[in-house]
Amino acid sequence: MARARGTDGSLLASLPWTLLALAFALLPHVPYLPVWITAALLACAIWRYSIEVRRKPVPPALLRAALALACFMGVLYTYNTISGVGPGSALLAIMAALKLLETRQRRDQFVLLFIAIFLVMSSLLREQYLWSLPYLVLGVILIMTAWLRTAADDAEPVRRSLGTSSRLVLYAAPLALAMWVFFPRIATPFWAVPIDTGTAVSGLSSTISPGDISALSKSDAVAFRVNFEGAVPEPRARYWRGLVLHRFDGRTWSGISEPRISSTALKNIEALGEPVRYRVTMEPTRQHWVFALDIPYEWNLESTFLGPQHQLTRVQPIDQRIAYEAVSHADYRIDAEPYSFRRGAYLEFPEGRNPRTATLARSMRAAARSDAAFVRAVLTKFNEEEYHYTLEPPPLGSNPVDRFLFETRRGFCEHYASAFALMMRAAGIPARIVLGYQGGELNPVGDYMIVRQADAHAWTEVWLPGAGWRRVDPTAAVAPERVDAGRTGAMFDGSGAAWGLGAPSMLLHNLVLAWDAANAKWNEWILGYGPENQERFMNWLGMDDPDWRQMLLTLIVVVTGLTVLISAALLLRYRPPRRDRAAILYDKFIRKSGLTPATGETPQLFAGRVRRESALPASAVDSITDTYLDVRYGPPDPALLQRLEAAVTSL
């Protein structure tokens, strides 16, 4: 294999650029990669560069093979797999590090640059922000600059390589745009490879345990965005239904662990009143829950169904941003018939836990005339007695509901929903907890609603004879502002201060809203440019319902046209200077004279020879020669050129 021969320093002009391109491509991966991989690549880069500077030989093959094996085992150990974006980009980084160590010739750097391109691509699979576009353009320019420098003259200034590659990328931009617009998009993937990004996505947890560490999300991350068709529902009607919890072990509420689909759920909904139509763009959660206004009645998302507890569920987890249109009814009656569900499941009350709550509930039920009156009585208790809404409640012990109801008396939605549901069950009323979002902020920029993770909410449903499952939000009894103004509204009108929410600067908030609007448009038009958007755009262009063949044809025509233009622009750049008019006229004169000027013969000497040897009139020959010399070497004068033209043509 390799003889221990020093490097010759021929990589010094290109290696720094290759390393820069690699570093730039690796940058978005750094937060997701194990530290040792970034460190390994960095170390190999420094090592290889110093080898080149000091003309040392590259490390021997045996050492490189050992390193490769160690790194591969490291990746396997870290991820337990080698498929997916996370392990894939880790492997790419490792390959780059090892390839660096065996790079001897300039051309070997191509492999490194190919790896850089794949690293950029895998970072785009992981996340697509607004800045990802400038990032990838800059990445391409950097990689192509490094590419140029692998073959460039050592003396070539960096600015020039950068200029050349930028110019070529600029020429390529219209081609790329045309291909991007016209390339037919397909709805379904060829093979379903989950994009395992390896990071937690913020979202609702599938269980709640009031009294454990305060788990309420304070994240401003967007959960979903909504465009309403027609009037926007009132804040107190904005309950975005997610999942339903009905099991309680005395401490933790949980629901159906696997999403289940019910064939009867939709039938058991009796829609009353006007429908609300809207479009939701939901961020990935990697869960199955699809959020919709209470209660969803129609939706156009594939393989999505209502579960037995009327929770909207998609068969595949939502690991990419999705958009769907839905219709909901704010007034409804569900499961009005008592036999439509298993009543016992909603009356579970673990024996011996939270005994004081049970006693209180039973005595209150005995005092009330009906179930409905009992519900009102409990809500009144929350509203009138010393109960507080706070985002930072004290921890609760082993009987969390007892302790909350009788001792701490402060908490947020989970605490109130949990206590309320349990009291209902103690009194023999079926009850369950619904997790979802409540509220949402209207963004005046772009005119849509933002629902954030911090809007996450828990409320209850109780089953009353004749009315079916009714939504009851005990939090509204304690902190009506939370429901009426929404979390953001409460933050700004001052009522949120009591819950532990600080009011941010209004200016900053408006900037956040503007940025979010830009992101929403970006998501809709750039990232969401799928079959539907493409069809809409083609129709707008005047193509009536094109199929993929017509679109490919259009693509080819447009790209060919653009290529011809670019080719012509390049030809213009590289064409030789046009001969000036005077020289062309003088050539004509030479042809008419029938003689050929000898090498080094000046026009004056040639004129003498023409006078002697040709039949042309001597005066014309002299005047043409003099005018020609004046035009060529004198100040520019169009009149002279005309005279020359007249003289030559009149010969």
Binding site: L124, V137, L168, L175, Y529
Partner: protein
Amino acid sequence: MSSIRWLSPSRLLPGINRAASRRVRLWARRRQGVDGPVTRLEPRRIYILPTGVGLIFALMTFAMLLGSMNYNNNLSFVLTFMLIGVGFVAMHQCQRNLVALEVSFAGVEPVFAGQSAQFRIAVANRSKSPRHRIRLYIDDAHSDTKDLEPGESRIFVLPVRTEQRGRITLERFGLRTLFPFELFRAWAWLHMYPRGIVYPHPAEHVPPPPASQTALGHRQHDARGEEDFAGLRKFHVGDSPRNVAWKAYARNDQLLSKQFAGADMSSQWFDFDTVAGDDLEQRLAILTRWVIDADRTQEDYGLRLPGQSFPPAHGEAHRRQCLEALALFGLENPDG
């Protein structure tokens, strides 16, 4: 060599490639005709094909396209189409990099058989944009790779192996570029037939030239010193300017050198007929060696070949004349 080069089609199919490329060249030669002394490269005579790197690049972008389609990821579509676009632009840029260059022959120094003749080809860039990474090549050799600034003209040297004395003609050479990204290789073939001369290979171990051939039948050994003026002689390149008869030059415009009796005036004749041996090439080789050695010692020498005679003299021009005569001696068609 890197693995990329091994993937190029010419490596995979050497036999077919050789036969095919010969036919293509013949076709190009018929199509283009013989080139003039200054040839401008028109777009229609510039050929272009993808390189091994280019094929890998195409494969990579195709894989990226499949990936983008599978994940329906619009930003990786952007990246993919951008790279495809760069490939398209690179193809045109590569071809344009050669367009309108002016190629002309800039001479070749004579060499001895066995040495390589350094054909000098001038390439001029008359356009307003720089040209990058241009290289001239023949079947088994190539020149350095150079850049040409706007308006710049540079000399490219093509080393051509020589085997026997006589005229040497460069039948065809190529001009190529891989710029910008080595994805494509653009080239042009030129048939200018530039010619050079190859001297016979000088013999290694030769007898000294026969002494009896000394001019005038004797050697001047009288030590009368340089002051003893012996006459005037026509000036030869290599004569000391001190010995030029400047007064005579002022009188009749003719450069003459003063000859002194004290100087070593030995002037030998190298006669083809007196060289022993039957082999023509061997005899020419011996004569060549004598000429070189005599030239090195600045002696006057004359050369007599059947039908040709070069009276004793010395200097660069004389040496060239003699060696050229030896190079072309006895060849059927020395100018063909």
